[in-house]
Every structure is written in C-alpha cells, then in structure tokens.
Symmetry: C2
Subunit: 200 residues, 2 copies
C-alpha cells in the first residue's frame, strides 16, 4: 500500500472510511504524531480522552483498546502496536505552549496550528480541537501524579495500526515540539488499507 | 456567606465573576461534584484537562494549581483544599455510561445530562461538554496505567475553594453515579464570596 509522508513539523487531514485501517509509522524513530478523529457525518462528534479512559479503564492504550468519542461511540480500535507507549493526557502544542515551555527558542504554531489548518476545510474550528491521541509520545505518570515528557521509545519503522469503526475525518501530524521527540524534528509516514481509498 | 444546595443527582449553572471565590462543600462526606467552567465572554473557551496537565505538569491538582482553558488561559486557581484528592481524567457520566457500567440498575442521565440542562441557557450544547474537574472524586492510577474509581476520602464539611481568574460560567453537580460516591446519593453545597453576587 502507498505510504504518504507528513514532513517534519507539519500536519495532514484526510477521510478514513469505516473498516479502513490507518497505519502510523515512525520512519526514523523517536518521533511523535498527534492524532485526532472526528465523525465524518458531524464533526461535533470528536475523540475524547475522558470517555476513552472511562470505558477502557486505563490510560495505557495499546492493542485491543478502543478510542471513544464524546458521544460514547467507538471511533477507532488499535489492532497492532509495535511500541506500546502512547499518550492521551496532553493537548497538542500551540504558540502559547511554545512560549511557556521554550521561552528562549523560536515560537512555532505546533501541532495545534498544523491540525487547525489541515482540519479547517472539514469545518473544524480551533476551539473544537481537544486532547489528541499522541502516538509514540512517552509521558510517564509518577506515583505522586507528576508528569514527565520523555523521548519516545519508538525505533525506525515502528508503527501503530488503527481500524476505523465509523466514517472519520482524521488529523495527523509530525511533532513540532522540542521535548517530545528528543529534540529532533522528523517526518511521520502513514498508509491506509481496506475499503476504497479515502479522499485527501 | 449564603450556602446553596445542589440536591442529590442534580446540577446547577451560574456566573462567577473574576476575583470571586467559589467554595464547593461536601456536606455529608464521600460525595463527588463535577465542575465545568466556560468563559462568560465566549463559551467556546472551556476548561481543558489536557491544557491543565500540560502547564501544571501533574494530574494531582490541589492548592496552588491552576485550571486552564483550551485557549491556554488560566480560568481558576485552587486556593484551599481540605481533601487533596480530585480527578480530571474521566468525563461526566451520561445515559450511555450508566448503561455500560450499571446494566442491571436504572439508567440515569447522570452529571452529563444535568450539566447539559443547566448550561443550555448559557448557549452550551451537549457536544461542548468536555472532561469535568471532578471535585472529591478518587481515581487512583496504577503503575500499569489502570484506573480505579474508589469512594471519595472527603469527610462531612470538607471543601475546595477556587478563585475565578476570568469571568466564568460554572456548571456544578451532585454526583449521580453508583461507584463514584460509594453508592449513596448526597447533596453538594456551594457558596460564592468576593465581588458582586453572581446572577444565577
């Protein structure tokens, strides 16, 4: 199946039909990809970390886990995971988070800005961007609740495969932040198989 | 200051002006209150667990912690906390969660339905209800990421005080779920001090 590249520090949005499988690939290793999902029928239905934590009863989401919408419907099922370490706690970085966390470095619009631009043609406004499912992102939670952002443990070619359980609009990025990917900006690859090929 | 009661399994919504302090009280102990906050100027700006986890760098939020909006602005600061145990991972229970978790018990619209009704006059639609800050809710995260919902550790009269850092619309409930409050449905009390009294 053809592989599409998301260049470093950018994002894409595309349709994913029910039954199709999206493979998110980390071609060089140690890179993060923020994933959003909206119902193709009504983009007010959106992926929800809280509903997912409710129904899966864990914050550690890997093979077999389902990603749920704010309307309590399953949007995606993780069908294969060569890494086993992802994050669903933190929101996509934006200009504001760059100013906060990297005051001495150039500001970037981050995955938030990249997702907002890519999703705008589908009717998604910036305020409709919730917590993303942060593929390959490594955020350990300490016993006292404190969070760290560590480099991903993904190696070149590692991947995550997700099956669409409804017709979706997907937003997907190659991470732009300094900490999340160990300080290097790399591309993300993805491919889609099953059913008809989606419209970009 | 006058205390308002939220009856068991119900909710309320009200204005909280910048500088006012909201006190959420558990009058009988072991009860949960779901709290939502929206900018009074534009209800598309809303409390965000992900942005809060970003900036506070912890999921354990207590005195001194700030609760942030999806637009990276501080909405509320926790100024006093006699419990020290709250949850910001799980979404308000709805009819769907009742059917899922309590298939043998009567369905209830839950805090989600109560919040949706109370917030509707302010222009908040059900799809605009994100993860609530669940005051007194006790959700331990195990080392492997698994979540439990334990009875609250709050005792009669325990409270949480939050200062509004912008003009807000607040949604607040007395929990309706079976597990969250140890199986008993109790009221929640709240009071507001500082500045002019808000309109209900």
């Amino acid at each position: 199946m053809p592989v599409t590249e998301i260049p470093p520090r950018s994002g894409a949005a595309f349709r994913l039909a029910r039954g199709q499988v999206l493979t998110v690939i980390d071609p060089e290793g140690m890179q993060v990809s923020d994933l959003l999902a909206y119902s193709a029928e009504d983009v007010r239905e959106v992926i929800s970390n809280g509903r997912t934590f409710d129904y899966e009863e864990t914050i550690a989401l890997t093979t077999g886990a389902r990603l749920w919408s704010n309307r309590s419907r399953v949007m995606l099922t993780i069908v294969e995971d060569s890494v086993g370490r992802h994050d669903f706690l933190l929101t996509p970085c934006s200009e504001a988070t760059f100013r906060h966390f990297y005051p001495d470095q150039p500001v970037h619009r981050g995955c938030f800005g990249n997702l907002a631009e890519a999703l705008a043609p589908f009717g998604v406004e910036p305020d409709m961007i919730p917590c993303a499912f942060n593929v390959f992102m490594n955020v350990p939670v300490a016993a006292d609740g404190k969070l760290r952002v560590d480099p991903p443990v993904s190696k070149p070619g590692d991947h995550l495969r997700l099956r669409a359980e409804m017709d979706l609009i997907i937003g997907l990025t190659a991470c732009s932040a300094y900490a999340s990917n160990g300080g290097s900006f790399k591309p993300i690859h993805y491919s889609i198989d099953g059913g008809q090929h989606p419209q970009e």
